[in-house]
Symmetry: C2
Subunit: 453 residues, 2 copies
């Protein structure tokens, strides 16, 4: 037979079992966190009509999208989860209850040039709250809490959520008489981290901003400190622009509720330099950076927008949402050695090695374990003892149970804890109880582990 060389397309992540189990662990923790905040799970098709997905259009999207025909349908693969959400809410508007809070975790597709750490198929893990006409600021205040809990549940701790409010920026530039140039200025200011304040000043002046205004901008974006200090400094601008004042009130509200939401102050910073998607966000915006790896960029971003579904409906649907690009994050964490080697990634918690021809006692014991939620496998292959132990070792199965004539006749099982090598004889009931209790401790091992600085 002519064989075809097996391969996986470049730009598509395909994991071996152990890292896949860690990836699943992250998905599970995200589903749980999102659920705790009252978001309902949503699933939409990967394929949509191209007309729907490209309603907004735009250069990069049109270039990267996977688009094809089937029969006489012009189809495309979704490139994010926001456009499908907009379609969903517009289509099912009458059947939904607002504010509509959904999470969606799914694969999206972008035919980018393949390069290290860039993926053409990747998971987005999104939450959005959609209002009907209006949406209270408290929803924007809640987002940092969700980000905080999403990452800490996965084991990440050394990160900071950066928050800004687009109204503050818009109001500030209006005050300076620079309203028309605001978008360009924000793009320049966004480079601050990379090129430093003096180059930003030069670029601003080069683009036609007066020296005085450039000075104002630089002293504005230089406002840093604790949340209280930043808010205090911003108060100095109050009363000169209505939008600015509204943004400042909103930012104050977001900061005020942090502690009630359980977000430690050191995981949160007001940062006047961030702006995010310039033509989309209108209120609070969020970025999340890893303290030890700022070069990775934001690992969770989003913000408040005013009009989710304007391409599909005349209903005004404001919302706030964030997205975690989990495939890239997982890749980066792996590269940086952040994946926890102590997490239990074995396919089973217990491998039962029957030493008798009749497997019934081994199977019955496996059934007992499973009934108590312990993942068990009976090893039924005819192999040498050493090969069986290697099977457990290679997959890091935490417990091996031996069951021979002798144990069966005495009504016991022999349990070997593989890490310590300790071995003991227990009744099946004792063994189930003891293993189940020990596994509870293993569950505390999150997928991510940082070496604390």
């Amino acid at each position: 037979m002519d064989r075809i060389k097996p391969r996986t397309l470049s730009g598509f992540m395909e994991l071996l079992p152990a890292p896949q189990a860690q990836f699943e662990g992250m998905l599970e923790r995200l589903r749980k966190t999102y659920s705790l905040y009252g978001f309902t799970p949503l699933d939409t098709p990967v394929i949509e009509s191209a007309e729907i997905l490209l309603a907004k259009g735009g250069g990069e999207t049109e270039k990267q999208i996977y688009r094809f025909t089937k029969g006489d349908s012009d189809l495309a693969l979704r490139f994010d989860l926001t456009v499908p959400l907009a379609k969903y809410v517009a289509l099912h508007y009458n059947d939904l209850t607002f504010p509509f809070r959904r999470y969606q975790i799914g694969k999206v597709y972008r035919g980018e040039r393949a390069q290290r750490g860039r993926f053409r198929e990747f998971y987005q893990c999104d939450i959005d709250v959609i209002g009907d006409g209006k949406l209270d600021i408290s929803n924007e205040a809640e987002i940092p809490a969700i980000i905080y809990n999403a990452f800490t549940s996965m084991g990440l701790e050394r990160f900071k959520i950066r928050v800004n409010n687009r109204k503050i920026l818009t109001g500030f530039y209006d005050m300076q008489g620079l309203g028309d140039q605001a978008a360009d200025i924000m793009r320049t200011v966004d480079k601050l981290d990379k090129i430093g304040p003096e180059k930003v000043r030069a670029l601003l002046i080069e683009s036609g901003v007066s020296e005085a205004a450039a000075g104002e901008i630089l002293s504005f974006i230089a406002i840093t400190g604790s949340n209280g200090e930043v808010l205090q400094a911003l108060e100095g601008y109050r009363g000169r622009n209505e939008i600015f004042d509204q943004g400042l009130d909103e930012l104050g509200t977001v900061v005020k509720y942090l502690s009630a939401f359980g977000v430690p102050e050191d995981h949160f910073a007001v940062d006047l330099t961030i702006a995010r998607g310039l033509d989309y966000y209108t209120g609070t915006v969020y970025e999340t950076v890893m303290l030890d790896h700022p070069e990775i960029g934001s690992i969770c971003s989003g913000g408040r927008y005013d009009n989710l579904a304007e391409y599909y409906t005349d209903k005004k649907l404001p919302g706030v949402g964030i997205s975690i690009g989990l495939t890239r994050l997982f890749y980066v964490l792996g590269e940086q050695g952040y994946l926890n080697p102590d997490q239990n990634t074995a396919p089973a918690d217990v491998l039962i090695l029957p030493m008798t021809e009749d497997l019934s006692p081994a199977i019955a014991f496996a059934t007992q374990l499973r009934n108590q939620g312990v993942r068990a496998q009976v090893y039924g292959e005819q192999k040498k003892f050493k090969a069986k132990m290697t099977y457990a070792d290679k997959q890091k199965i935490p417990y091996v149970v031996f069951l021979g004539e002798d144990e069966i006749s005495r009504g016991v099982v022999k349990v070997k804890e593989m890490t310590s090598g300790q071995q003991q004889e227990l009744t099946p009931e004792e063994a189930v109880r003891s293993i189940a209790a020990d596994l509870e401790k293993l569950k505390g091992q999150a997928p991510i582990r940082e070496d604390k600085a």
Copy 2:
């Protein structure tokens, strides 16, 4: 602005929040069941090289597959999870430990003619055990236990797993000197349920089978009764064909281990009429039928095969696996009224209605609830009281908590259980404990509910 009418492609399931929550409940239970049997989660790309997916070729597949080019790549969407598994095992052979036990739950694509209850995008929920060269019969014996637990965990009870062994069929037809015609005969016999024995006999004779042989075939497939009775009757054929005898031994082993695996005898039947994928399966084959809806056909099928990845590698990789087509099953269950209306499908367990301008106490209570695993939402919109209650009602949120100045000053919360309408004042700690305990009971509500016959 020119608006585009929002729509979802026909043949693509897109659920509203409540049914989506039920669908998620099924996915969760399947993940858990598959895990308990020591299967590791696997994820492979939705897009593969067309050459890989079409290695086997074949008419229906080529017609139905979504195939397209991007740049100069000839790509396609996977139409099942078996071909990607074959590629995965061939590609990562050196990194895997055998027997390799994986589950995969994911969407697959088939551009069928759209019709009621048929989907172009649907979930398959598969498990497979792959051996390296050999695979013990005990793996085949385990499958009915997994099917049984998968369905009962979702709340389905009135179903039967039908099992046969292809070696018994092959051996039997060899005995009759009909080895060459066996495939055609099996296709005819497969119609037994629909057309009855006499029409099967007529078709067999028409196709050239002698009257005597047709009689033999009809009395063979008429063998029914308890598992013990069927095995007993089959013993009457022993000693005439080696393959038959081997199949009978295998079937005996599968039946023997049922009770150790915890499968009730009444959920299992040997059925000599089933054959499944004629060019693929070589040992035990499985079908699962709903007792009250046999017209739906098999809701979980699979079997033993000898050569998973022959198109990609010369390694012999025998395996056994089953697949549940969850999208279609979910659709059918919905149509038949089997989706449990008492399952908790609300996005949150508790809706907190703050009656004060400062939301901090409400948020702090929500944080307390979430810390104990209770899904909580603070309703922060400026709406009339009635609109807030309607929000809880419409989404069937089980608890509403009122928190006004009065409650805050007295250190209590007012909890309303929405089903009974009962209302009580509790300290926040008492409320969390009481709600968390009540919710444990709700968790017992599975996604499927049958009216017991």
